[in-house]
Each structure stands twice: as C-alpha cells, then as structure tokens.
Symmetry: C2
Subunit: 228 residues, 2 copies
C-alpha cells in the first residue's frame, strides 16, 4: 500500500506547499510510492486528531507530521535506500539548512508571492488566508505586502549568496548528489514557482541552474507541477 | 613532531583570526599537538611561496592553507579520531554553514569590531589594515564603519536566528556533540570576543550559551585566549 501524503492544494488542485514538496521529493528519493490527497488550508483539521499543518503522511495506519520528522522516519525505515542525510553529521547540519530556509528564505520569498497565493487558494480558503497572513504581517494587506516587488528583488537575491557559494563548489547542497537539504531549499523555490509568474531568480543565477537540476530529479517530479 | 599552525596575531600576541580559530579547534578535536607560530598580516607572504592568507599549517614538511581544506585533510589523515564532519553529508552541508559564516556572519560582525581590530593589530600592520579595509568598504573610515553600533545591534542579533532555531533542538550545530560546523561559527564569535570589549551577544541568548560550551571544549582552549 502506498504511503499517503496529505498535500496542500490550491483551488485548481495545484500543489504549492514548500513543506509538502520537501516530503514529496524525499519520498521519491527513497523510491517510495505515494498517493497524494489534496487538502486545502481549511480542511487540514479534518485529516486527523490534532492535525494543524501539512504535510501529514499516513503509513501502516499511523499519521505523522512535520516534514523533517517525516524525512528522519523515512531514513530510519528505509536505511537501504539512497540516504537523505549522508550520515549523522548530515542530519544535524540539515537542521541548519532548515532553519535558514524557514527563517530567512521563506519569509524573504513571502512578500513576493503572498497576494498571488491568495489568488490561487481554494475559494473557501480565501478568508482564512487573508486574515491569518495580514495579521502575521502587522495588519498590512496582502496587496500592500507584495507591492513594489521589482524594487526589492536585488536585495532578496543577495540573501541567496550562501547557496551560490556552495553551488560554486558542488552540484548539490548535499555534494555530488542531492540530499534532503536540497529538497528543503528547493521546496521553497517550488512554492514560488507554482503560485506566481513573478520571476524570482535570474536565468544566469547558479541557484536557478541548481533548482532546474532538482526539478529534473526523479523523473522530473518537480516539473510535473507546472509553473504559474 | 607537532603540526605547525601559522596563526594571525595582534601586537600583543593575541590570536584573533576566525579562520585560524576554526583550525585550532579542529586540531584539538582530533587530539593533535600543535605548535602555533604568531604572524601578523604583513608577515604572511614570508610563511612560504604563494601564501597570502592564514591559517597555514605545516606537517611533514608540507604547507597547506584554507581552513576547510585543512579540516578535510585532518579528517582524511586521522579517520580513527573523533570525526569533524560525521560522514559525507556532514562534509557537504558544512560548506553551507561555512558559506553562511563567511558571507553573512563575518560581514555582519565586521562593522561592530573593525576599528577595534585596527587598535590591536601589530604597529606595522596598521597601515595595511586601514587601507585594505577602508577600500573594501567603499572608502569609509574604520571609525565611521564602527560608529553607531549600539543602534545596529538588534538587527545583527536577528541574523543569528538560524543558529538559535537549531540550538533550541540540539546542544551543538553538529548535534549532541560538536563538529567542524561548530568551529566555523564559533571562530567568528571568538574573533569578536578577542578583539573587542563590545558585547555582541545578550547573556540570555541561546547562541551565547552554545558559544560558552564551545569555549569550554578541549580543556577550555577557546577561553585560554582572554576576551578583550
């Protein structure tokens, strides 16, 4: 029986959660079959008792949440399949990549795409999304948050410099081949790619090259969700 | 014969290079004897042919530079001693920590301590240091760069949030025990600690707790260099 992934979906079914993409790519990395079940924001609570966020996976009748915990579970459960971490040091330091992605990259991307997200979420999610995000960002409207993004682009791109410094040396954050750390960061860029037609990365950016390589992995899984 | 480390020194002999501290701590982690040789900026070229930066180590009559390359060399040469990376994934992802430390943390710290560094370098380094750094920072004087640092402190401390997010989960960046990644970041904080009496970290900061733990390692090696 395939593992079930409850996967955040927009009104037209598109899958756009950075955290769900981390898990989707991690499952593919381990060569595991998956059945994705689309859920919108306001359906998350119905996934199961105590569920407040996605991704949630269901395997052997048990639900599990939190993308990093799911990746650890997969690593432990399928030790003979390609490693997601490359050893204990890789596990520990993937936490730093996660912290940077969640604390710097995602908040950095948000003001470029937040109104575009609102436009693609399910109708019944719109009120929830607007209210919760406008509250989170100090009461500014989604449209005000996103305004002037062209002028902010150079500043944002500079924050990606640590990625570039690594990618000058090696094709993936994980080294010669991708690890979960690659999926952490690629999940964020996939989020932006799927919700917004706004071009976050310059074509000649090393980060764009790398992201393209990640989209190509596992039979082009990332590209199977078309860009906005 | 102990490994020789050419170690950047101030006018009073204090060791303050973040990159040299990375290597110093890595050598201790491997339990290796070291003989440090103080050099000031303007003596680096005399270390050996082609040398332009420290650290440089000398072992078996051969010189080697670049802190990360030295750490990799130690890992390879002494595989039976405590690992600096915790596996191949740890090597790859330590590059991201290095990129963040070199590209975000060090430039972030610089305007808090740059005039203080000038005050502690050897007399014969002063001209070189002022000229090269003022040129690097767009012609502003060291004193202008450092001015108003109290007002900039909150902003700088926010940039450490990725460290805090990791340290909420685990005592070291490397997990339950330190890895080279810890020494990368601690080297930067040691640099600030050794050159400047300005308090970069709040006492109740998780990063300060962790830094204290790193200073305590290997018989208190980090603390053996007293704070400014």
């Amino acid at each position: 029986m395939p593992i079930v992934l409850y996967d955040l979906a927009g009104g037209d079914g598109r899958r756009f959660s950075p955290y769900c993409w981390r898990v989707r790519l991690a499952l593919a990395h381990k060569g595991l079959e998956v059945e994705t079940r689309p859920v919108c924001f306001t359906e998350i609570a119905a996934i199961g008792p105590g569920q407040t966020t996605v991704p949630v996976i269901e395997a052997d009748g048990r639900q599990m949440r939190e993308s990093f915990d799911i990746a650890l579970h997969l690593e432990e459960t399928y030790p003979d399949r390609p490693s997601l971490f490359g050893g204990e040091g890789g596990v520990a330091l993937s936490r730093f990549v996660e912290a940077w992605a969640n604390g710097v990259l995602n908040p950095g991307l948000m003001p470029f795409v937040v109104a575009d997200i609102h436009a693609i979420v399910a109708d019944k999610d719109r009120g929830y999304f607007r209210e919760s995000r406008e509250k989170r960002f100090g009461g500014r409207t989604l449209e005000a948050l996103q305004a002037g993004r062209e002028e902010r682009l150079d500043g944002f791109r500079k924050t990606l410099e640590p990625l570039r410094a690594v990618l000058r040396r090696q094709p993936f954050l994980g080294g010669a081949a991708p690890l979960y750390a690659d999926y952490i960061v690629a999940g964020s860029l996939q989020w932006a790619r799927v919700v917004s037609a706004f071009r976050i990365l310059a074509d000649d950016d090393l980060v764009a090259d790398w992201f393209g390589r990640v989209l190509d992995l596992h039979g082009g899984l990332g590209r199977s969700q078309r860009a906005a």
